[in-house]
Every structure is written in structure tokens, then in C-alpha cells.
Amino acid sequence: MRSLVPLLWAAACTPPGPQQTTPVPTDSDTSEPKILPIDTAPFIPIDSSADGPPDLVPGHFVYMSQSGVWNLSSASAPNTMTGSLQITEYVDTLDTALPEYECYVTYALTGEAVGNHTCTDCNFVFDVEFYVDDGDPAACHDPDAPPSGAVWQMGWSDPDGTIYLNYYGTDVWLPWYPGTKSAAVIDFAWSATLAIEVLDTGDMQ
């Protein structure tokens, strides 16, 4: 028993857990700590080009045209309107012999006069309903090509020679179609050109 005491004492006094650890290296570097610099200066881009902008010229264009007519029930204070609208869009050139349109839509229009409206520049305002006679408005590049059955509030301004649109009921009246009024007929037309990228399909013409 006596001989076991030192062994028991030594075993019992072994501290729990790891005693020997990997020596920690001493940092002998006394220089300033190396800290990545933080650039707090504002970045001001400088155009190093000596020439002016090259004015990039698109290779292809979509020609968009919208035209039509309003036939008014009377020249001064019309109660109703019937009419038509044609939307055409094509890329670059149109072969008149065999026209290939991106979008070709014809509409029949009907209008009911609106008495209570917010267009301060308008002589008269209609709720105009659009019926698609032919074509698919969804194929048009103009996202505002009216779908069939749409009812838009549109008004005519004599001084401006313009058909205004109450854009989706926002009471923001945008000049939509320039037009000319002759007695009870308003002819209108609008066109725009957008650049477009035409993918090379590899087809040989």
C-alpha cells in the first residue's frame, strides 16, 4: 500500500485536459503592422480618349407607325365616335411587293363622350374602345399597343392639334397622336424609330 501512494498521488494530480500545447511562435517583427490601405478617395472616372464619342450607329431599326381616323358624330360637341387604327412595325426596309411586318394590327374604334374628365386642354374626351380586326398587338415592339377590348380615355385638343391619352387612368394626359381636324373628321398619325439587334440566323438569302 505504501508503495502505491506515490503512484496514486501522481495519477490523481494529473490536470484534466491537454497540458502540452504547440508552442506559440513569437512575433519578432517589430515594424508597423501591415494593414491593407483603404482607399477613401472618391473615384472619378477620366475619359482618356482624345477623340469625341464615336456615336455608335445601330445596324438595324424598327420603324413603328400608327395612324387612323376618328369620325365624330358632330364637329363641335360630339357624343360618339367611330374610327379605325392601324399599327405597323417593320425592320429596316419593307418589301412593298411582299411586306414582312414585325407587327401589323388593325383596329375598329368606338367612342362614347365623357363629360367628367380631367383633361384641361381637351375640347372633348371619349372612352375609346379598341377592337382588333386583324393581327396580334402582343407582337408589336410598342408596349402600349392596345390589346383587344381595351378602353382608353382619349381627348382631342384643337389648339394643340393633338389627341391626348389619360395614361391608364392616372390622369396623366400624354400627347399621344398628332392630328388634323376637318369638320367632323380627325386624322392622326404617329411614328417612331427604335434601334434593334437582329440576330444572324445564318440563313442564306
Binding site: 490523481a12 494530480c13 464619342p53 413603328m64 404617329w190
Partner: protein, 342 residues
């Protein structure tokens, strides 16, 4: 015998802490000497106000103003997608984009890069009726474009911004829901006038979600980097992750005086100063019950942390009371920008 054995087993005493000064190592990131003199209440009030101005409304304004200054043929407007010189597809099938590198003459604005946009808006109904008038609008800007002239940058936009608005106004009832995310760099005088809180612009990824009318609530999450110390001439960044329940619609357990979460500002020496309010999420609570009762009180005050180190006895009480009265909401009219208006 056992007692004898245990008595001889005293553990080694813990080492004495070594004062950092005795190591001969300089503290590379000391706290600022004037920490006690900084008016943190004023700083964080301004930071909250600044944060609420960072929305899609600003780049959209710059976009509208910059294209209003265009000259014929500069810039070109595009439909559909385009593959740029790096082979990246930009634009979308919907919407419209300007893309160019042009200037008509030295006196005209120059346009370099592209900005694509799309929007959707509708309003209908009578605000004096029980059904009310409903306004719904959304819009998106994407781009890497620069518009400028001889006086400097008019509008710079690099990134993406979008927002959506729902507003119902009826007889005796009103509700507004607005959300905005700007993940972009925005600068230029077409956006930021001299009276702006950020006349030099910013780079941000800030998201905000606001409801008002029947229930007031604001959530904000993200960062705003100001390029220069535009906040009180000292701080160049704001970071935030918070949600605030306003007085309207607050439940009995809601705190309308202070948000859950935190808001921080960074000075030009890259030191962050954060005010930490109530725990943002359940997992933010380290123990149960929340072990820091004084800081979990609904009193409008949070604890200041500098570089993540708590500053004892430095509570900052931020005024959020203006938020739900003065938060700038867009009007649905502002979303309208069709081809016909170009």
C-alpha cells in the same frame, strides 16, 4: 487518504492578464480621441433621414431628367436585347433602353453606356367611394450609363433599381404599401441638387419596405456608401438592418419608439459606430430570457458599439417619430414614361 490526495490537487491559478501596453505593440485601431464629443444623437438622426431618401425615386428622377436633355439621335433608343462587346446580354424583350456613346456637339450632353427601363401603372376608382381609388405602379431601371456635359456629370447609374407602389384611398380608409431596392451607384446633378443630403451621390444595396395609412411599418436593410464624408462631414457610410412598427396599427407588444435591429455609420477612418436596439430576430437573443434587460426596454434608445465593442453607458436615443409622416412616397404618375412621351 483520499482527502490527502485531493488536497494536493489544487489547480494552477489562472494567469494574470497582461496589459496590452506592456507588450510594446501599438494599437492600430484606437478609438477616436473625441469619442465623447461626437453628438451621436444628431449623427444617427441624420443617418436615418439620409437612409429614407435612398430609393428608386432618385435614379428614376435622374433618368427622366437626363433623357429629357437628349438631342436628336443622341442617344439611340433600343427595343429588345442587345449583346454588348463583352458578350453580355443587356436589355430585355419588354421595356425600352437607351444605348450609345455620343454627343451632338460640345454644348450638348454626352451619353455613354446604356440604361434600360420598364414600368407598369394603373389607377382606377373613386377615392370618395367605399371601394375607393386604387393605384398600382412598378418600375425597374437597369444600366451602366453616364450622362454629362461641360458642367460635369448629370446622371450616372450603374446597377439595378426597382420599386412598387400600392395605394388605396377610400372614404374613411387609406393604405399604402411601397417597397424599393436600389443595388447601384447613383450620382449626378440631375438627381442630387445642392440641397440634397447626398449631393455627391452614393453606392448602395438598400432595401426598404414601407406601409402606411392603416398600419405604419418600415423595414430597411442594406448599406449606403457615400464616397465622401457627406454625413456631418465625418461619416461616409450608413449600414442598417432594422424594422420599426409605427404608432398606427401597433399591437400591445409592439414598440413604436424604437426599431428592432441596428443602424450604423462609418467614419472616413473606417471606424464603424453602431447603435443596437431591440433584438432583430429571435436568434439574436443569446439567452432566454434576454440577458440584457436594460437594453431591451422600449425607450427609443440603443447601445453604442464602436468597431463592434460595446461602449458602456453610451446609449443613443434616436428620433424616429418623423418617419411615418415624412417618408417620401412616389405618386403613381411619376412612373409613366412610355415611348410616346420620348
Amino acid at each position: 487518504m483520499i482527502a490527502l490526495l485531493l488536497a494536493g490537487c489544487r489547480p494552477e491559478p489562472p494567469p494574470e492578464p497582461i496589459p496590452i501596453d506592456s507588450l510594446g505593440v501599438d494599437n492600430a485601431f484606437p478609438l477616436p480621441d473625441d469619442l465623447d464629443t461626437i453628438d451621436f444623437v444628431s449623427v444617427f438622426n441624420d443617418a436615418v433621414r439620409l437612409m429614407t431618401t435612398v430609393s428608386t425615386q432618385q435614379p428614376w428622377l435622374g433618368h427622366r431628367n437626363s433623357i429629357a436633355a437628349r438631342t436628336p439621335g443622341c442617344p439611340d433608343f433600343w427595343t429588345g436585347t442587345v449583346e454588348d462587346a463583352a458578350g453580355t446580354t443587356i436589355g430585355h424583350d419588354d421595356g425600352v433602353m437607351w444605348m450609345d456613346d455620343c454627343a451632338r456637339d460640345a454644348d450638348s450632353p454626352y451619353y455613354d453606356g446604356y440604361v434600360w427601363w420598364d414600368f407598369d401603372v394603373s389607377e382606377a376608382g373613386d377615392p370618395n367611394s367605399l371601394d375607393g381609388r386604387v393605384s398600382e405602379a412598378s418600375r425597374t431601371l437597369e444600366g451602366d450609363g453616364l450622362v454629362g456635359d461641360a458642367q460635369g456629370v448629370r446622371f450616372e447609374f450603374d446597377g439595378r433599381a426597382s420599386d412598387s407602389l400600392y395605394h388605396l384611398a377610400a372614404d374613411g380608409y387609406e393604405r399604402t404599401v411601397y417597397s424599393t431596392t436600389v443595388d447601384a451607384t447613383v450620382t449626378g446633378r440631375d438627381v442630387f441638387g445642392p440641397d440634397s443630403l447626398t449631393p455627391e451621390g452614393y453606392r448602395t444595396d438598400l432595401f426598404m419596405y414601407f406601409t402606411g395609412g392603416d398600419v405604419d411599418r418600415l423595414e430597411a436593410r442594406g448599406n449606403v456608401y457615400l464616397f465622401e464624408p457627406q454625413l456631418q462631414g465625418r461619416f461616409d457610410s450608413v449600414g442598417v438592418d432594422m424594422a420599426l412598427q409605427g404608432p398606427l396599427g401597433a399591437g400591445p407588444d409592439d414598440c413604436a419608439l424604437e426599431p428592432v435591429g441596428w443602424i450604423g455609420v462609418r467614419d472616413a477612418d473606417a471606424l464603424w459606430y453602431d447603435v443596437v436596439f431591440l433584438p432583430r430576430f429571435r436568434e439574436d437573443v443569446a439567452g432566454d430570457p434576454y440577458p440584457n434587460d436594460p437594453l431591451s426596454e422600449c425607450d427609443g434608445c440603443g447601445r453604442l458599439y464602436v468597431q463592434g465593442i460595446e461602449q458602456p453607458d453610451m446609449d443613443v436615443c434616436v428620433d424616429f417619430s418623423f418617419l411615418f409622416d415624412e417618408f417620401a412616397l412616389p405618386d403613381a404618375d411619376e412612373y409613366v414614361l412610355p415611348i410616346h412621351a420620348l
